[in-house]
């Protein structure tokens, strides 16, 4: 999705995490026996089911709560979730697709310039924090968007947020701050 700036910054969504409920108890053993592409984990109490198209992995709990990960867009995630609910229906459970919610979106973006992290952190205290001994990226948390942007010195960004719109807004907000810190201040 492009931002509304003049320059075209490619924000690539790499992962969408969504949850939904089936409103009925699910027998994990039945699912493990009669479903293909499933991994049963009795020690944790869940079943992992993988769909091929869209490429999605779902964690299914016996209470009927399901978490879907691996989609590359919100619509794909919804399609995958519905497909999953349909398969469970076919297996014989009285499934009702309800409470579908996208919980987390992960996107990456690349700036065409390097960012001097120490200057970036100095200019944006306390929203930005940078500990080179712990992690090579500076973390910028935007409270009102509930988004976290991790800025690497190579100009790559990793953005996580509750939905794709917030993620795009977060990149737009952070771009001018990064642009200022292209070169080390002492030069």
């Amino acid at each position: 999705m492009d931002s509304s700036n003049d320059e075209a910054l490619d924000i690539i969504v790499t992962n969408v995490v969504a949850t939904f409920r089936t409103r009925c108890h699910l027998n994990l053993r039945t699912i493990a026996l009669e479903g293909t592409n499933v991994i049963y984990k009795p020690e944790v109490g869940k079943v992992l089911m993988k769909l091929r198209k869209p490429m999605i992995t779902a964690s299914i709990w016996s209470s009927g709560k399901i978490i879907c990960t691996g989609a590359t867009s919100e619509d794909e995630s919804k399609l995958g979730a519905r497909r999953l609910a349909r398969s469970l229906q076919k297996l014989g459970f009285k499934v009702r697709f309800s409470d579908y919610k996208v919980v987390n979106v992960l996107a990456v973006c690349s700036m065409p310039f390097a960012v001097h992290l120490i200057d970036f952190t100095k200019n944006n205290r306390p929203i930005a924090s940078y500990e080179p001994e712990l992690h090579p990226a500076a973390t910028y948390r935007i409270k009102n968007l509930k988004a976290t942007v991790q800025v690497f010195s190579t100009g790559s960004l990793t953005v996580t947020g509750p939905n794709v719109q917030n993620v795009a807004t977060a990149v737009e907000q952070v771009y001018p701050l990064l642009f200022e810190c292209q070169k080390p201040l002492c030069n």
Partner: protein, 458 residues
Amino acid sequence: MAPLGLTCPDCSSPNIVEDDLYSQPQLVCEDCGSVVSEGALTSDRGEGTDVSYRLTTAVSKQPCVNQIKGLQRVKAICRILRLNSEIEELAETYYKQAYEHRNFINVSLQKKDALVGCCVLVSCRLRNWPITMGTVSCLLDTDPMLVGVIYQEMVKTLNIEPHSQACIADVLEAHCQEYKISSPHVPEELAEDTKDITKRAVALVELAADSWIVTGRRPLPIMMATIFLAWQSLNPTKLRLKYTLERFCQLAKVTKTKPALKRITEIKEMLCKLGQEIPWLRGVVTPDNAIQQVEYILKYRYALLRRALRTHEDALMDAQQPSCKDFQPGIQSEEPSSKVAGPSQTSWPAEQTTNKSFEEASESNTENNQQPGDEQVNLCSTGAQVSQDLEPNWGKRLLFAPPCVKHPKIRRMDKPALKDVTGEEEISDSEIDSYIRSPQEVRAFALAKMMLCSSDKH
């Protein structure tokens, strides 16, 4: 044995023995078992109470034993690091606050130990005293990651705004003291005064920071690399140049870190680029003979940096000029190269000085060539597409860029995302059937599982 003359009041037997019940001294009759007399249950004990801290209902809570011990550890660490009293008091205050906060009161003892170090760390940061997390985790003998996690939690909980990491130059001075490389410890040819090494290493670190070697990296390997190169360059004899990093670390009695080798290579590369610009040098500067030039490079570093950037700009412009001249009408056989695509990428707002004149020059060229018609535009746009597919590496165009941009890892192409998905489409039965086993498959699977289980048991 009981004192003489005592008899049991019940059975009048003289056999009375001392038999302590837990910590209470008692005199007991041996024959009938009755207690003749008993002493005090408790004695005066200094610290701690008989009721555990969690269950106490005292109105004014005294600090619990672990908190007292923690405060003592804070004091001890401050004394070891020879911090001034201001930092010590600040650390103690923060420890008290954090310990009693609900986020930390119930954590494990290991985390409370890490909290001790974090309080010292935060106080040093606030008073601009250079200290690294590595030092703190070394003193506490804990995992540095744990210290990091607790540090971030603590800063968030107590709403502290620490200044960011002290710049490496300050930490370097303290770090240099560790290296036993001065006269009494090593032979004369290899000895160097710590102050000289520190000064030169600081200059090297600043130069490395200007060329994107420092940002995003851990400080310790960089410090080790610069100290090693400083030591070599202060007296670049054959003997010293032959020394590898490993031998140097053995000599100076420090533990080598592996990334330091990579940093040394990167710094040497940077020195080569700058060494090329020295006017009175003839011949190529290679990583091997760059060390001898370090003194001049550091002395004239700003001038050399400017010259290097200008040379790089000129080189780029020269490379650009001939390909723009080829931009003649009617050329379909010409393959659009990634450099031709440069002008179409002027949409980047980047105003890097290396690219600015490059863009201006190429823009004027394209304006001259735009009359010949649409073929030009097509060539330009297809060029843009080709180059975007190849993902032009802007890092390669710059003289100094972060090393992983200059040498990017080759990424495999990810699967393209499903297009035109709305999320509300119809799902056909046949699709779903592919995810469900048929009854025969189920039976076969169950049988196989049973056979595997039984064979496991045997």
